[in-house]
Symmetry: C2
Subunit: 223 residues, 2 copies
């Protein structure tokens, strides 16, 4: 009984959220602003990847929203290391972001004049995948210390994204991480997502990731 | 409005869950079985730590319940590498375990004759901390690649546990992981939890972790 009640409520909340997300996505597109939702486990390197990526894209005007349950360390790091416009969002215990929270963050960030906004979601491989934030692009980072079996264990987040970045490949061998096996496991969940291996720490693969975003922003602007 | 409705339902679900958890904890104690809830980020090394720990405790009769949204790889690994009684629980998309799911798992595992049961929760630093599973002991694993700032970002899971295992210390320096800073961050959330640094891969610190459990099981049996 208890579970049925929860699921029904959840469905109505998800429906409302989806409408809000579609409307937000449309509004951003009209302004020529591309929104990217960045998801991963805690500590997979979302912030470090964003810092390295933003530095490699000097031609784009970029903003960042950092979501955490608590602490401001990520927004401070991004602002200090890239100089770009950034805000910290506190979810107050919530395990994910939805379109309403994203819209609030965008209001505070002020997107006028920006080409690209990154939304760093709460570090969590389960709940964020269930809520459309209004982003044009969903990006999931998988880091090698987590192991190549993660797509088998957390289906939805790998199914529902467009870009999968495999981070910390410089230490993959130490963790017996098998990139080919990882790609097979990702393909089991998602046939079409772009997969890009990188090390945000050493810079390996960052050029390809930067080129991906240049191309993506151009496409959004031309639509 | 939406959020108020969700929170109220959540509260009643949590209250019911707490009663069920207390009753489960009491029943297990009467049988002399100690239940340990193991939580962490995805890929922090829950299964590898359990395998290494179980092998170091030949005098105890141990059972394991492995929870995942999907896949059986963890239960198969535990059964193959330790020979101990193990079951895989599929949460069907749920981001956490509650006392009802734990009770179902225990029924399937059959705890008669066991001293110690490990419940490996879904890899998630947010939701599992909100639900009492009925365990006597809550253990959180933090792995060095995640970074020493995690207790700042995920308050509840570090507040609500009795034992914090810092895993993968053999590679801490590569990830600029500062153990002293990590301990300070843990203490900011939790003054009394036992903190044990280990490497489940190299075996460092496993003797102390084994001794902790021998002692803990004795205490539960003498209560």
């Amino acid at each position: 009984m208890e579970q049925v009640r929860t699921i029904l409520l959840n469905k109505s909340v998800l429906d409302e959220n989806e409408q809000e997300a579609d409307s937000l996505r449309q509004k951003l597109q009209e302004k020529g602003v591309c929104l990217v939702n960045v998801m991963s486990s805690p500590g997979a390197g979302k912030t470090t990847t964003l810092v390295s990526l933003i530095r490699s894209l000097p031609s784009l005007r970029i903003g960042v929203m950092e979501a955490d349950i608590d602490s401001d360390v990520d927004a401070l790091k991004v602002a200090k290391e890239t100089g770009c416009r950034s805000v910290q969002l506190h979810t107050g215990g919530m395990c994910h972001l939805d379109a309403g929270m994203t819209a609030q963050g965008l209001e505070e960030l002020d997107v006028d004049g920006l080409d690209l906004v990154f939304l760093e979601n709460v570090g969590n491989l389960v709940c964020p995948a269930e809520y459309d934030t209004g982003a044009h692009l969903n990006m999931t980072i998988l880091s090698t210390p987590e192991g190549h079996d993660k797509p088998l264990k957390y289906p939805l987040i790998y199914q529902s994204c467009d870009l999968i970045v495999v981070n910390k490949i410089d230490v993959g061998s130490y963790f017996d991480f098998d990139l080919q096996e990882c790609v097979r496991n990702i393909r089991y969940r998602n046939e079409s997502a772009t997969i890009l291996p990188i090390s945000a720490k050493t810079g390996e693969g960052m050029e390809a990731l930067g080129a991906y975003f240049i191309d993506y922003v151009n496409k959004i602007k031309q639509k």
